[in-house]
């Protein structure tokens, strides 16, 4: 019973009736909870087959041990030696107790917290769905305004502006035959950069935030295109680097651009160039209009110090791996398995990781799995890279595995799908009780993750069959004791 509930604001005692009501309500809550928790225990089955087999194995082992003379018959411990009896003396006990308290205080205040634990970012609650769309070939590619109040994403080749709660505010439709892709909000919040694709040629364009937001009222669409360049030209970054460079002279045929990413200072723009038949390359264009290839790779994300990038490359085995790259020299260090990285201003790197998951839907009475589903799924993980990636490299050099340095941020979604329920129904109707596994090819993919301001939340998209959901998960930093 909390104090607040039995006292009013003036600290006067509430009437007994109110007290009893509050107490009863809380008591009921606890008893329901406890009953649920017991239910949890009861629904965990015991493997009876293992119980029988292990018993046999243990008996055999027991015989072996006996024959080796190691004495499996319990040998009861001897009484403590007499020399320790002085410890029982009250004065000695008090002295030893105070020494122990002192030592404990030193250990607790000095070493324990700082040497045996780590801070990490974790999800505060479950992801909240902001909105949901029909799945398209193009991913949502969301980008967040620096103040966190607006989201821009790609739908049907248009740029759509949403509020932070998922309400549509504006939409910028492309001229006929063109498609908009890969929007990126500049760190100063004044403009959005994006890629325009038309008949196989592509270029990077920029647009003021005001123009984008007024797109609906002004019926912005097509006509405004020519104006855009002029207005953007007044902006800091656009003035020098903008259209002059990569896309320069516009329209590099057979070049495919994607994944625009502004450096935290807004003076550099990283992007991916994919040539026909080639491998994707990460390029950086600077404010001075220089444009340079950094490394082969995809999905670049900037470090908070603006000197490094994390990029993804296809792994030799399967899936993708993440590399830490010096943006100036292109020198790269392998981090580990993962894809779709995003490096927040607070030094945390979120990435998705795919794996094959087998879920047991039902068990046989003897505890063996009956019906299972096998599917490739994605989970979101997070690790601390600091301002320049050095904390992760130190851990890797110490031999700590990449996944061991990261924490699970958003687990795979484990709800039962309609397909699975239908399958179970079929099994039931067929009367078959034989163990079976349903193999699903769909990937519940996480993509387009992007941090909100100060890394307080993370936005990401999750494909789920015919629809794709835009989800937001709040984040909080937590300290974890290392378990020894």
């Amino acid at each position: 019973m909390t104090e607040e509930k039995v006292h009013n604001q003036e600290n006067k005692v509430l009437p007994m009736e109110d007290y009893l009501k509050a107490r009863q309500a809380e008591g009921e809550g606890v008893s329901h909870l406890l009953s649920h928790m017991r239910q949890v225990r009861e629904t965990v089955p015991v493997n009876r087959q293992l119980q029988v087999e292990l018993r046999k194995k243990l008996l055999e082992r027991q015989l072996e041990l006996k024959s080796q003379g190691s004495g499996q018959v319990p040998t009861y411990p001897e009484e403590p030696a007499n020399r320790w009896k002085f410890v029982q003396h009250p004065w000695v006990k008090a002295f030893l107790g105070s020494v122990a308290v002192l030592l404990l205080a030193f250990a607790l205040t000095g070493l324990w917290r700082h040497t045996s634990g780590n801070y990490f970012l974790e999800a505060a609650g479950n992801p909240q769905e902001l909105t949901r769309f029909w799945t398209e070939a193009l991913p949502l590619q969301p980008t967040i305004s620096p103040d966190g109040t607006k989201i821009v994403l790609v739908r049907g080749g248009s740029l759509v502006v949403l509020s932070e709660t998922g309400v549509q505010l504006a939409a910028l439709e492309p001229p006929e035959g063109e498609v908009f892709r890969s929007p990126a909000w500049a760190p100063d919040g004044k403009q959005i950069s994006y890629i325009v694709s038309q008949n196989g040629s592509e270029e990077i364009k920029h647009l003021t935030t005001e123009e984008l937001l007024s797109a609906r009222e002004k019926n912005f669409p097509v006509q405004a295109k020519a104006r855009v360049k002029q207005e953007v030209a007044s902006l800091e970054i656009a003035s020098n680097m903008a259209m002059s460079t990569a896309a320069k002279d516009n329209t590099l045929e057979a070049n495919h651009y994607s994944n625009l990413a502004y450096a935290p200072d807004g003076k550099k723009l990283a992007y991916v160039v994919n040539r026909l038949g080639g491998v994707p390359e990460v390029w950086v264009s600077s404010q001075a209009g220089q444009e340079r290839r950094v490394i082969e790779g995809d999905a670049p994300t900037w470090s908070p110090d603006g000197k490094h990038l994390v990029v993804q490359k296809p792994s030799r085995t399967n899936g993708y791996e993440l590399w830490l790259v010096d943006a100036q020299t292109g020198d790269a260090d392998l981090l580990g398995q993962g894809e779709n990285p995003v490096w927040g201003a607070n030094g945390y790197l979120a990435f998705s990781s795919e794996k094959v998951q087998e879920r047991v839907l039902t068990f046989l009475p003897n505890g063996e799995p009956q019906y299972s589903v096998r599917q490739q799924v994605a989970e979101m993980r997070i690790t601390y890279l600091g301002k320049d990636g050095s904390p992760a490299l130190k851990k890797l050099n110490k031999g700590i595995g990449w996944l061991a340095t990261s924490h699970l941020l958003v687990p795979t979604e484990n709800r039962i799908s309609g397909v699975e329920l239908n399958w179970l129904r079929q099994q039931e109707l067929s009367g078959s009780r034989e163990p079976k596994t349903l193999i699903l090819n769909e990937v519940n993919k996480c993509e387009g993750q992007v941090f909100g301001p100060e890394g307080k939340w993370l936005l990401f998209a999750r494909r789920d069959g015919d629809t794709v959901a835009l989800l937001k998960v709040s984040l909080e930093e937590r300290w974890e004791k290392e378990r020894d």
Partner: protein, 178 residues
């Protein structure tokens, strides 16, 4: 030499086989509850009893066997989790557990509410999770949990109280229909 009878726990007079029969169920259930991968949980159960057998002479019988076997189980679990962090590429999830006569579809639907609570339990901090798991999956008493975790009984009671409080808040927030 036999220790003084007034300090000896009755479990100390039982043969290993009988203790195994008595504690297989809580240990297997505890590990299946804590480890998502059921096959791994069963392997860990095997490892726990193998270790227990080989070290049975070290069981001093000055306390219940439950505390001793669960200390082994808990250590085995912690070792497993440490190793798994590095190699978490594949896993098998205990979606829910059913041993009833209901049809599979019905059983799956019934498990949804329980699953929600299990997810909330996973969100608790490590200390809270340990206490709640030993209490509700292992069915241990507070004094036994204190022995397993090398804490005082009052500290365990406090952790349990706080864990339930936090769990209740999260459960209410998530809209549990208890």
């Amino acid at each position: 030499m036999t220790p003084a009878t007034n300090q000896r726990h009755p479990d100390g007079d039982l043969p290993f086989e009988e203790l195994y029969d008595r504690y297989f169920e809580p240990v297997n259930r505890y590990l299946r509850y804590r480890v998502d991968n059921t096959w791994d949980a069963d392997d860990l159960t095997t490892a726990v009893f193998m270790k227990a057998l080989e070290n049975f002479s070290k069981y001093r019988a000055d306390g219940p066997f439950a505390a001793w076997i669960f200390r082994i189980a808990h250590n085995v679990y912690v070792d497993y989790i440490r190793g798994k962090r590095e190699y978490a590429t594949q896993d098998i999830i205990l979606e829910l557990a059913i041993g009833s006569d209901d049809g599979p579809e019905q059983a799956v639907l019934q498990g949804e509410e329980v699953k929600k609570l299990r997810q909330l339990l996973k969100d608790l901090s490590a200390d809270y999770r340990d206490v709640v798991a030993l209490r509700y999956a292992g069915d241990l008493r507070f004094a036994q949990i204190a022995e397993v975790l090398s804490k005082t009984e009052s500290a365990v009671r406090m952790l349990h109280h706080r864990a339930l409080k936090q769990l209740r808040q999260k459960y209410d927030r998530e809209g549990g229909s208890a």
